[in-house]
């Protein structure tokens, strides 16, 4: 039996959803292949969306027309803006999700989407053209394990941790992509046959506790923000009744129990070969590596408004069940805790990301895109961002258009894609704000302004939503003009003063509210007028108006710093624009160090700037490379 589609998306996780919705919304006949349609949008780990770096990504996904921000706004049960005191650039929203509601909503959105068909099944092989001569292998479709063939010229592989998934709890080993779900075993072999290199990665998850086995009287409460700041620019305001999280601590007894049982840990016993993330260490890791810490903070996060399960953030572990049972009960408030599910580590196959281009199309198989954990990343948000890019680029290539151009200076999405194509990722990659050289310019408050042109070019946002985004960006521009040009009365010294000086010298410095409390009425009026909708613009909710004003003020305050950093980046990357031909014979460039030669040959950076960001490529190599590349080009031009 055969079915013909334009785009096939394999995997119904956070990458797969965005890829499938984007492709279908852009008009491509799309199939979403998943083991179980009820599993679409599941949160197998932390029941939360956003956070530092990740919240930035969600804002960007949202501005470009992705689904994640809207879904978490609709199903979040606790919202907090992190890093309020550390500056606007590292401020980011985070929310606890009702994971079942989130899943249900995503499943409903997917089901309702025109042009998108959900196919239940296990993708086990790829259909490709046998390569003729030097032409690259081309994708033709996907084979399911029951023999069905789905034909399509484009596919997005978003299999998460399912490829060759192996779960560990102590010395118990179970094949599967996550608890209660089967692994995909066929695809790994198919990828290798197509020339992909695979690499084992590892990640883990903590135990879940039954809510009614906890003694909440002994736990510290962590409430959500009083005023909720939503993720999506479409959301007007949220009146969600929030559910608190709780805090507790590990102690010396916990650590002693873990130390005494380390030999039973698959991580320390050497059973797990995959590399785990340093930023998400297991509790065994923390106890061993930071033996001097007397206690570690643990967050108890409800998995849903009515969920009976509590996620124990900070206790990721793959120790045997009896050890988990015992050490969990050493934490205050958890003395009688009963584990609903034990923590486990999962090992899986990833296809190291140097095998894709910045479009996420794979180098070995034309037409095949990879997104999410299969490329070595970690996190729902990172996955969703890639899914969106892969879905959009797949359709663009069907239309014969260039892939999205996302420079790393313009968005976290750009940073992510550039890192994927220039870094040899050996541990699950998650976003950090420090990965962005232009961090001060890549803020949540200006995500709309940064991504509006791209959003318009992509065309995922319906016209009404695009108008709203435009209005939001225009309001900030008008307010910015007032702040930069208006002169007003100086209430302190008499005479007149530039409005910009009032903003720049506001008490509280760079991190002060946009407008000082005590400003002349003409400035207040002028700003208020600037923030009103212009003719033909939709009216914005109060929160977007506030955000526009904040953006205008921070733009002004950070202008000097951003200019300074940009100058430095330009100086550092002054050779960065030199294009490196794709057929550059790195193997023969014996003047480069061996390590550099190998990495360059594998990653084939598009320009010298990308080459400079490859780990292990030395400054001296770049100097030499710039000469060799020029010479190579000149010789080729001379020959032709």
């Amino acid at each position: 039996m055969m079915h013909a589609f334009e785009v096939i998306v394999i995997g119904g996780g956070h990458a797969g959803i965005e890829a499938a919705l984007a492709a279908a919304r852009l008009g491509a006949r799309t199939a979403l292949v998943t083991h179980d349609r009820r599993e679409i949008g599941r949160m197998p780990c932390n029941p939360a969306v956003g956070g530092l770096g990740k919240g930035h990504l969600v804002r960007e996904i949202d501005a470009l027309g992705g689904e994640m921000g809207r879904a978490i706004d609709a199903t979040g049960i606790q919202f907090r803006v992190l890093n309020r005191s550390k500056g606007p650039a590292v401020r980011a929203p985070r929310a606890q999700a009702d994971k079942h509601a989130y899943q249900a909503r995503m499943a409903a959105v997917v089901a309702a989407q025109d042009g998108l068909v959900v196919v239940e099944g296990d993708a086990s092989d790829l259909l490709v053209d046998a390569p003729a001569g030097s032409a690259p292998t081309r994708l033709r479709g996907v084979v399911l394990s029951d023999g069905r063939e789905l034909l399509a010229p484009r596919a997005v592989l978003a299999t998460g941790t399912f490829l060759g998934g192996l779960m560990h709890v102590g010395d118990e080993r179970t094949e599967g992509g996550r608890e209660g779900a089967a692994a995909s075993t066929g695809l790994s072999g198919a990828l290798e046959r197509c020339g992909f290199t695979l690499r084992r990665l590892k990640t883990g998850t903590p135990p879940r506790l039954w809510r009614d086995s906890l003694d909440f009287s002994r736990l510290e409460t962590q409430p959500g923000d009083e005023v909720i700041e939503p993720f999506s620019f479409i959301t007007n305001e949220l009146q969600t009744i929030q559910v608190p999280c709780h805090l507790t601590w590990t102690g010396e007894r916990t650590h002693a129990l873990i130390r005494d049982n380390l030999h039973r840990s698959p991580l320390f016993g050497g059973i797990i070969e995959g590399t785990g993330p340093r930023y998400c260490p297991s509790i065994e890791d923390k106890v061993v590596r930071f033996a001097d810490r007397e206690r570690h903070l643990v967050f108890l996060e409800p998995e849903g408004r009515d969920s009976a399960e509590i996620y124990v953030n900070g206790l990721s572990t793959s120790l045997p069940r009896d050890v988990q049972d015992a050490f969990v009960r050493t934490l205050p408030g958890l003395e009688r805790a009963v584990l609903a599910r034990h923590g486990y580590a999962v090992e899986y196959d990833s296809a190291p990301s140097w095998q894709v281009r910045a479009s996420l199309e794979s180098k070995p198989v034309a037409g095949l895109y990879l997104a999410g954990q299969i490329l070595g990343t970690s996190g729902y948000e990172e996955a969703a961002a890639q899914g969106l890019a892969a879905g959009v680029n797949a359709v663009r290539s069907l239309d014969g258009r260039e892939p999205l151009d996302l420079p790393r200076g313009g968005s976290y999405l750009g940073v992510l894609l550039d890192d994927l194509t220039t870094k040899d990722i050996t541990e699950p990659y998650r976003m950090f704000t420090s990965r962005a050289e232009r961090r001060l310019a890549l803020r949540c408050d200006n995500a709309a302004a940064r991504l509006l042109p791209l959003a318009a070019a992509i065309g995922l946002l319906p016209e009404a939503e695009l108008r709203r985004l435009r209005a939001r960006v225009a309001a900030a521009e008008r307010a910015g003009r007032v702040l930069r040009t208006l002169r007003c009365r100086d209430l302190v010294h008499g005479g007149s003063v530039a409005a910009s000086d009032l903003v720049l010298q506001a008490p509280g410095g760079l991190d002060a509210p946009p407008l000082p409390a005590d400003i002349p009425v003409e400035l207040r009026d002028a700003v208020a007028a600037a923030l009103l909708p212009a003719a033909g613009e939709p009216t914005l909710p109060a929160r977007l108006v506030e955000e526009a004003l904040l953006q205008a003020a921070v733009d002004l305050r950070y202008e000097g710093y951003i200019a300074k950093q940009d100058k430095m980046l330009a100086r550092q990357g002054h050779l960065g624009n030199l294009e490196l031909p794709e057929d550059l014979p790195y193997a023969g460039m014996t003047t480069l160090s061996k390590e550099s030669r190998e990495k360059l040959a594998r990653l084939r950076p598009a320009n010298l700037g990308q080459a400079s960001r490859i780990d292990g490529v030395r400054a001296s190599d770049l100097a030499v490379l710039s000469v060799l590349a020029r010479r190579w080009r000149d010789e080729k031009e001379g020959a032709s």
């Binding site: 550390k86 998400c280 420090s434 961090r439 001060l440 710093y561 003047t591 480069l592 030395r618 001296s620």
Partner: protein, 475 residues
């Protein structure tokens, strides 16, 4: 004039790089010419072993299984079989050699003759004479030297006296890198803490928190260390290039005569006609272990011709970038009238000339005015003038700097000065404007990038690793 000097010296490493340069085998005498017990001839390149085998035979250098870094005694012969020398053959196989290529050294008997004959035989066997700095260039291209080491080698090659050679040797061993790294380390630690505080929340952030006072203390310490290093940089520049001494004065004040007298040679054209020197003439003077570059200039006056005016402009330019200005006037003339011509911030020594032509009674008065009394003809006062020059530039300190190993390139000094400026700005942002951590971290990253350009190291890649290695962060 300084900048040109620096650029000229760096040049061998930045031009002429190319694929063809490493396809052949080069040879040169690696030891200094002159009388010594030992001379080393060095071969480098893919054919080094073959060439060496032609001289030393297959017993000393077997065709298969040559052992790297193992010296063997051998009789060296030329193509006709004539014995050139009895010496040692030392193969060093790629990449474990200075250049990263196959290298063979012949350790010959001292004296120029043996080494020259061995080199000649190598050329006959297919090696090409190495250009200046070519071994080092290959080492650099093969990634065997860091940028600052390579530049130190450049300086070594160009070292014009023993002092500079000593400083250059030190840097080759990483003296400058060590010093900059000592400044970098606490700043990197600070940045790791700031970033940790930004990337994580709750107790994780608290674990890495930097109190404002602590932050300022780290910045102040780095500022002080940079100021010291920059003072050394200036001294090091004087060691490397020599101390620039510019002779200024009215036409016919006797500048060229004094210039020649100090150098004991007829370098500048001397004539009684005022305005004879129309350009700047420079020559090197070694004294007290310090190298001086003397610059003779056009006389300063207001009624000269156009060519002379150009010369005067150059003279002023030279004076502005000088380390010491000798302000000349005839002993018979009154002093002080010319001081206005000396640029600010430069050590000025007032010199009275032509003492032999003036009434001896004027000498005492001139000395009281702080003028050094000289006569180019009789040689009067020249020793005192040389001593004054040495004192003015603190010759002791220069020798110390050479010993410390602070062989700075102009590039280094620039970067360090920029880093100090940025650091001071960051301090102000933190102390006066309560800059949020994200701004402080961004500025600090920029400063570390400046410093990294001195050592050729980039830190951004390692920053997250640093955070994770040092702090227990993340859930």
């Amino acid at each position: 004039m300084r900048k040109q000097g620096a650029a000229r010296r760096a040049a061998p490493f930045h031009d002429g790089l190319g694929m063809s340069t490493t396809n052949d085998t080069i040879v040169a005498i690696a030891t200094a010419t002159g009388e010594a017990g030992l001379a080393i001839v060095r071969l480098s390149g893919p054919g080094a072993l073959d060439v060496a085998r032609r001289l030393a035979g297959a017993r000393a250098l077997p065709r298969e299984g040559v052992r790297s870094h193992l010296a063997r005694a051998a009789t060296l012969r030329d193509a006709t079989g004539e014995v050139l020398d009895h010496g040692l053959v030392l193969p060093m196989l790629a990449p474990r050699s200075y250049t990263g290529e196959d290298v063979v050294e012949f350790h010959c008997h001292g004296g120029a003759l043996c080494a020259r004959r061995v080199t000649g035989a190598c050329r006959d066997a297919g090696a090409r004479p190495a250009g200046p700095g070519e071994f080092t260039r290959r080492a650099f291209l093969n990634g065997r030297l860091s940028l600052d080491q390579a530049e130190a080698v450049a300086d070594l090659i160009h070292a014009e006296d023993e002092l500079a050679a000593r400083a250059a040797l030190r840097q080759l061993r990483g003296g400058l890198r060590r010093d900059v790294e000592a400044i970098e380390r606490p700043l990197l630690d600070l940045l790791a803490r700031l970033e940790g505080g930004l990337e994580f929340e709750g107790d994780d952030a608290a674990a890495v928190a930097v109190p404002r006072a602590g932050l300022l203390a780290v910045l102040d310490a780095a500022l002080a260390a940079l100021a010291l290093l920059l003072a050394d940089a200036d001294a090091a520049r004087r060691v490397r290039e020599g101390v620039h001494v510019v002779l200024l004065g009215a036409p016919n004040a006797g500048k060229s005569s004094l210039f020649n007298a100090l150098l004991s040679q007829e370098r500048a054209l001397v004539d009684a006609e005022p305005g004879t020197t129309r350009d700047v003439v420079a020559a090197r003077l070694h004294h007290g272990g310090v190298s001086f570059v003397l610059h003779d200039t056009a006389g300063l006056r207001s009624d000269g011709g156009r060519v002379e005016a150009l010369g005067m402009a150059r003279a002023r330019e030279a004076a502005a970038s000088a380390d010491v200005v000798l302000l000349l006037s005839e002993l018979s003339a009154t002093s002080g009238s010319d001081v206005a011509d000396a640029p600010a911030g430069v050590v000025v020594l007032k010199v009275a000339t032509k003492a032999d032509l003036a009434d001896p009674s004027r000498r005492e008065a001139a000395r009281r005015e702080g003028r050094l009394v000289t006569s180019a003809h009789g040689g009067t006062g020249l020793d005192e003038l040389r001593a004054a020059l040495l004192a003015a530039v603190d010759g002791e300190r220069l020798r110390e700097v050479a010993d410390l190993g602070h062989a700075f390139h102009e590039r280094h000094r620039h970067r360090l000065a920029a880093a100090r400026e940025e650091l001071a700005a960051l301090r102000d942002e933190v102390a006066l404007r309560a800059a949020p951590a994200e701004v402080a971290a961004g500025l600090l990253a920029g400063i570390l990038a400046e410093l990294g350009e001195v050592t050729g190291r980039v830190f951004s890649e390692n920053l997250l690793g640093e955070v994770f290695a040092r702090f227990c962060v993340g859930k």
